[in-house]
Each structure stands twice: as C-alpha cells, then as structure tokens.
C-alpha cells in the first residue's frame, strides 16, 4: 500500500516503454496457453475422426466437416440445443431481475440488514455440488422440503421433479437461479452504493416518485453493471453444469441435458474426441456471438 501510494506518480512518468507489455505478459501467457491454444486445438481436432475407445479409430483421421454433419443431423443434438436455449433464457433474466430486487431490498441502512445480505449471498458460498446435494433432498417426493412447501401453497401437481421428463429441466433451472441470484446481487449492490446521491436528492426535490427514480435514474445509471452482470450470467449458464451431474445426470431420457453436459458425455463417456471438439467449437461460437452482441447493443444504447 505505502509503496504504491508513494511511487505511483513518479513511476508512471519514468516508466520504460516496455513496462506495460511486461505487466500484461503474465495474463497474456496464461490466456494464450489455457484459452487461445485449446481453442485452436479444438477447431483443428473437430475436423478429425478420433475415438479413444475404438482401437481402429484411435489415430486421428481427417474427415473434413463430417463431425459437424453428424451434429446437425443428430436428433439428440437438436434436443440438447433446445434444452440449452430453454435453460439460458429461463435462468439468466430471472437471476438478473431477482439479483436487482435483492440488491434494492438490502441496500438500506436498517438494523440486521447484514443478516439479510448474508441470507441472499449464502448460496454463492456453497460449492455447486454441495448445493445440488441439498436440493436433491429438497426435491424428494412426498417428504422433501420443496414439495412440502409447494403443497402448503396449494400445489397438487407431480412431485417427482428429477425423474419426470417435463420437470427435470425446470428443477435444475430452479437450482441455478437460486445459486446465481445472490452472486449477481453483489454487483448490483456495489453499483447501487456507488451511485451519486445528489442526483436522487435533485429528483426528490423535483417531486419524482420512487418508481420514477428507480426507472429513470437508478436503472440507467446501472447500465454498465447490467451489461457486466448479464454477460457473466450468460457465460455461467453455459458453463456451470455441476448440479446436473448431481441432480439428474442429464435425464430422464436426456430431458435435462444441456450443451456442456452433452459435451462431457460425448468426450468422456462416448470417448468421441472429434465430435466433442466440434461441440466445443459450436459452444465457443454461440458464446462469442452472444457476448459480442451484448457489448455492441449496449454500446449503441450508450452512444
């Protein structure tokens, strides 16, 4: 701390021109080695046929676009894409809205608010696998907490959340939202606490209602936070499947299999390296295009 505060200004004036490059080089090396290179490798291997569990196909053979053709014509893959779309569209906006509401709720100077913040945030601290294990018991038919609570609210539908093909995907989505909303709340809370108070005072003097302030001032000022939050929420939705391993194993009958889980199955159960690489490429393309679109749209709004 003390070193930094003393030396920042002189150092920046006298810094040699190569220093910035040196400073970013550790990150750059890590990104290149662990992100860029595997991506290039995945693209490359996606043009090959290689099964690790089939002796004669162990050595990679070039097959052009064969793997992509297999994917496009596979009904399984179509179902997986559909599940993934439902999962992302179902969890991301819900988590963000909840996170925003939680943040508003706990962004007040009330006694015991720390406890409320902790309550919303605590799912985040739990490892996903432990959280999913707890939910596994919540979802138990007959006596599970989730079903008992629903029944108290007058629900009399099917209770076999993890074994019913129409409910399994919804069940894993509920766990994801529960886990993520508190995490995303932290960013909104930080954003809220950094907002300039004078704007709100001025608005209050002008007679703006609470709702108007929220909609016309708070929300626009938190635009950058929303951009950040939505980006990481979307990426998370594609990347976090730990709870599916615990809760449903993608079942029953594939009804809760999403893209990354499918990728794991193809790579480590079917041992089909080429096809798994092709799925990786599809995953990267989808995530890149969503992220870029997200940034472009919000930049345009900001201009």
């Amino acid at each position: 701390m003390s070193i930094a505060s003393k030396s920042i200004s002189p150092a920046s004036r006298k810094a040699p021109p190569w220093l910035p490059y040196l400073l970013i080089s550790p990150t750059l090396v890590i990104v290149l080695v662990f992100t860029a290179w595997p991506t290039v490798q995945a693209i490359y291997t996606s043009f090959f046929r290689q099964y690790l569990n089939i002796a004669k196909f162990r050595t990679p053979t070039f097959v052009g676009l064969e793997n992509y053709k297999t994917l496009l014509t596979s009904p399984d893959f179509h179902e997986v894409l559909r599940n993934t779309a439902i999962y992302v569209i179902g969890t991301v906006p819900t988590s963000i809205v909840l996170a925003f509401l939680f943040a508003l709720l706990v962004n007040r100077a009330v006694k015991g608010i720390g406890l409320a913040r902790l309550a919303f945030f605590y799912p985040t601290i739990l490892p996903m696998v432990s959280a999913a294990t707890i939910w596994m018991f919540f979802f138990t038919p007959d006596y599970g907490l989730f079903n008992t609570a629903l029944q108290a609210l007058g629900y009399h539908g099917p209770q076999n959340w993890l074994g019913n093909p129409h409910l399994a995907l919804l069940a894993v989505m509920i766990v994801a939202v529960w886990k993520n909303a508190g995490y995303l709340m932290i960013f909104y809370l930080a954003g809220l606490q950094n907002l300039p108070t004078d704007v709100f005072e001025a608005a209050a003097i002008d007679g703006a209602s609470w709702w108007t302030q929220l909609w016309k001032i708070t929300f626009p000022l938190l635009r950058r936070t929303t951009l950040f939050v939505s980006t990481i929420a979307i990426i998370d939705a594609f990347q976090v499947v730990d709870h599916i391993f615990v809760l449903t194993q993608g079942g029953p009958s594939q009804s809760s299999t999403v893209l990354l889980y499918y990728l794991w199955q193809v790579r480590f159960e079917d041992q089909n390296v080429g096809l798994a690489s092709a799925i990786t490429v599809v995953l990267i393309v989808i995530m890149l295009s969503i992220t870029v679109t997200n940034f472009v749209l919000s930049e345009r709004e900001g201009a």
Partner: protein, 460 residues
C-alpha cells in the same frame, strides 16, 4: 523505488512463467514411448523364468515406487483401510513403495488416467476402475493382460479359480485375463423381515409373489411396498431381465434389448407402480434416499447395492433380510455383479508393473479379501476368504454377509461391451422413456436396439 518495483514485477513474472512451464513440462514426458515398448517385453521375460521372478521379487535390486489410483466415493473409510494394507505390504516388501492417489468416483479415476496418458504423461502402475470398463480400456490401449504374471505364479490357475466366477465374468477377453476383482458388489433385494412376519408373508420367490408382497405392504402416503431406483437404471434393471432368462448383453459386440423377455421385464417394473401401486411411479431418482427410506420404514423393500448393507444395518431397528431379486418363474432368482477391479497400466516400467502385481497378490490374499469385505461391506471376491476365521466369525454376527455370497450363484454379467458409454446412454434414454410412459416398452426397446446396433456396428 522504481527499480525495486521493476524487480518485483520481473521476479513475479518469472515465477508465473516457471509455473506455466512446469505445467507444460509434465505434459510432454519424452520417455513415454520407449517405456511402452519395454512394457510389452517385460511379461515375456517373466514367463521364461518363473523361478527367477520369484527370486527377484524376494530381493529386488532397485527400490521401486508405484502409484495406485483409487476411487473413494463409497460408503466406507476406504482410504484408511487401504493405507493399512499398504503399510503391511511395504513392511513385507521393503524395496517397494506404494503411493495411493485417492480420487472421487470410478469415473474420476478413469478420466484422470485418460487425460494423463493422452497428454503424454506417465500413468500410475495400478488402478481400481470399473469391471465393466474392460473393453474401453483395452481398445484405448491403456492396460496390459495379466496372464504372464498369473502364469509365473506357482499356482496361477488355482489363484484365478479361487475367485467367484461371477466376479471374473468382466475380466476375460480374447482368451486373456485383464483385471483382478477387488471391490465388488451385487444387486440386492433388501426386505424388512419383521414386516413380512407381521403380515404372514414369505420372502418372495417369483415376480408374482414379489408384486403381491409389495402390494400388501404398501400403505398409501406412508410406506411403499418397494423402491427401485432408476436414475442410472441399467444395473438395477439387469436382474429383471436375467430373471426372465435373457440378459441384455450377449457378447462384447452384441446387446439384447429388443427381445420379448427383456420387454416383459420392463413391463413388470412398470406394473409394480401402475398395476400394483406398490412402487413410486416413473423414473425414481432415489438412489441416495432409498436405504434411508428402508431403514426408517418408509419402504418395505428396496433394490440396491450390496454395498449399502453396513449402512442399513447400522440404522435399521428391525431384522433386515437380503436376497437376490426373484425371477419370473417360482424358485428362480437373479442378480448382477458390479464394482471395481485392479488393472495394471501400460506406459510404466516392467519393474513397476511387477511391483503392482505383487501388490495385487498381497491384498487379494484370503485374509485381506475377508478383512476388506468385513470392513467395507463389499462382497469378498475369493471363495477361500469365506474359510478364514475372521470371516466365519463375521458371518455369525452378520448372517447377511453370508447370504450375499450365496447370491453369487444367480449372478449374471454386468452390462459391458465395446463403446460402453454410448451404448449405456442409449439404453438409459429409452429405458427411462418406457418407465415414464413416453414410449411403450416394446417401442422403446426396439429403438434402443437399433441405435445400439449402430454404435456397435463398427466392431463387427
């Protein structure tokens, strides 16, 4: 100040780089290829001179260190038990050091080994992996056959024949033996013997009597007659198919799904819910809950792994009966084996492989097989383990342990074939579709057969 900062940055940069490089370095072990060649030569030498190996193992010239990869995600303090065996082994073999590497489940062990080998690294000499993974491991060229080690033993045939044949079923391929049974279980029907007595019921001996008992023991909203987990269904389903005279696996390249007897078995499972109302409907995601439900009286019977016996006995305050799953015809029974075997891996030196074999021999001695079974609840893999004093005493205290052994005579082979992951996922998908009423059993099994045949066609 400035210079100090630059120095700091450079030093930390070097640190990070060296870490990154270390990561890369371990990936590209240049010696991996020659080692593999040596590995294939080694067993040949062993066969030439069995006496020489005997002498060599008594006084190995160089100290050897071997790694053992071991799954620990089971309901017993495996790590502690195994460490005890390793200590005893090292005492007897001062020149061999055994380094256990414990990891999550069977899948994790296999994945770790796979990523190590495919990344060019050195695998462990020894690992416990699923018995059913045999063909995948052979095709992937990860493991070595064990015949040369067995033949080098003074009484190799007697050693192998002492293992229960049901446990050896997943060890043989191409006339060779590839794995040694160690941590093995069987599908078990647990029944609440007190409830049976109260209701004047005999332990079921056919599909019909099982269904009727389950029906009679069901109290709606309070107690299920039977719970039969189906979240990962092939294993617990197999006893039904075998009990109807048709296992779902016929050869490494042939599975039997679309067969009237298998379809009838699927229908029977569905009937337990729909016709007899004695079992939860649809796919039952209750693998974790079933033993607890049984122990607290919320289920009168469950079908589960024999590995759950110790846990159930600890919790239940009633007489626990164990038996094989009744077959369709009166007086017939069926079960299926499961669990993990020892595999010796390619890509390590012959000395390490020989040491690994020595360790296998050591921990499969009757006394150790008995001790392992007593402490973990797994079924002892060797017949002679049941002749040991410790085991006799244990069976006196826990007669169920003896009954598990007696069930082995009804055991069929666990689903194991080429392209196993793919075939198993296909079967799961359609079996669950039938359980959930999305397809009829006949439709589902027909589709499963079609897709599985496709996945196996490349091997024919």
């Amino acid at each position: 100040m400035n210079r100090k900062r630059v120095l700091f940055v450079v030093v930390s940069l070097l640190l990070v780089m060296s870490m990154a490089l270390a990561g890369c370095g371990s990936k590209a072990t240049p010696t991996a290829a020659p080692q593999q060649e040596e590995a294939t030569q080694a067993p040949a030498e062993a066969t030439q001179a069995p006496e020489a190996t005997e002498a060599a193992t008594e006084a190995p010239a160089e100290p050897v260190t071997i790694e053992v990869y071991y799954p620990v995600a089971v309901d017993a303090p495996i790590a502690k038990i195994l460490q005890g065996y390793i200590d005893a082994f090292e005492k007897e073999n001062p020149n061999i050091k055994v380094k256990p590497v414990f990891s999550g489940g069977y899948g994790d062990v296999k994945t770790t080994i796979q990523t190590t080998i495919e990344g060019g690294g050195k695998p462990p000499a020894l690992a416990v992996m699923l018995a059913a993974d045999l063909y995948d491991l052979i095709n992937a060229d990860y493991i070595v056959p064990l015949d040369d080690f067995i033949n080098a033993m003074p009484d190799g045939d007697a050693y192998i024949n002492d293992f229960f044949p049901a446990f050896m079923a997943n060890s043989k391929y191409d006339g060779k033996i590839w794995s040694i049974p160690f941590q093995r279980s069987v599908v078990t029907l647990y029944y609440n013997a007190d409830l049976f007595e109260q209701e004047g019921l005999q332990p079921p001996d056919s599909w019909q009597s099982l269904a009727e008992a389950a029906q009679k023991l069901t109290i709606p909203g309070q107690r299920w007659g039977i719970e039969w987990p189906s979240g990962w269904p092939y294993w617990l389903f197999q006893p039904l198919a075998i009990g109807n005279g048709q296992n779902i696996v016929a050869s490494p390249t042939e599975v039997v799904f679309d067969n009237p007897k298998v379809i009838e078995a699927v229908q029977y499972y569905i009937d337990l819910s729909h016709k007899y109302h004695a079992m939860p409907e649809g796919v039952q995601k209750n693998w974790g809950n079933a033993p607890a439900d049984f122990a607290k009286g919320a289920a009168a019977m469950i079908v589960h792994s024999s590995g759950s016996l110790n846990g159930i006995l600890k919790q239940a305050d009633f007489k626990v009966g164990v038996m094989a799953v009744p077959g369709k015809e009166p007086g017939t029974y069926a079960t299926v084996t499961g669990g993990g075997n020892f595999y010796i891996l390619k890509g390590v030196s012959p000395e390490e492989q020989a040491a690994a074999w020595k360790f296998i021999e050591f921990v499969t001695q009757p006394e150790y097989a008995a001790d392992f079974s007593i402490n973990t609840g797994y079924v002892a893999t060797r017949k002679s383990a049941y002749d040991t004093e410790a085991m006799k005493k244990h069976i006196e205290e826990v007669p169920q342990a003896g009954e598990l052994r007696d069930m082995l005579q009804y055991a069929g082979m666990e689903l194991s074939c080429m392209n196993l992951g793919k075939v198993r996922n296909i079967f799961h998908k359609y079996l669950q579709a039938a359980y959930n009423g999305e397809m009829t059993p006949a439709e589902a099994m027909k589709q499963a057969q079609k897709e599985a045949d496709e996945a196996l066609s490349i091997f024919k």
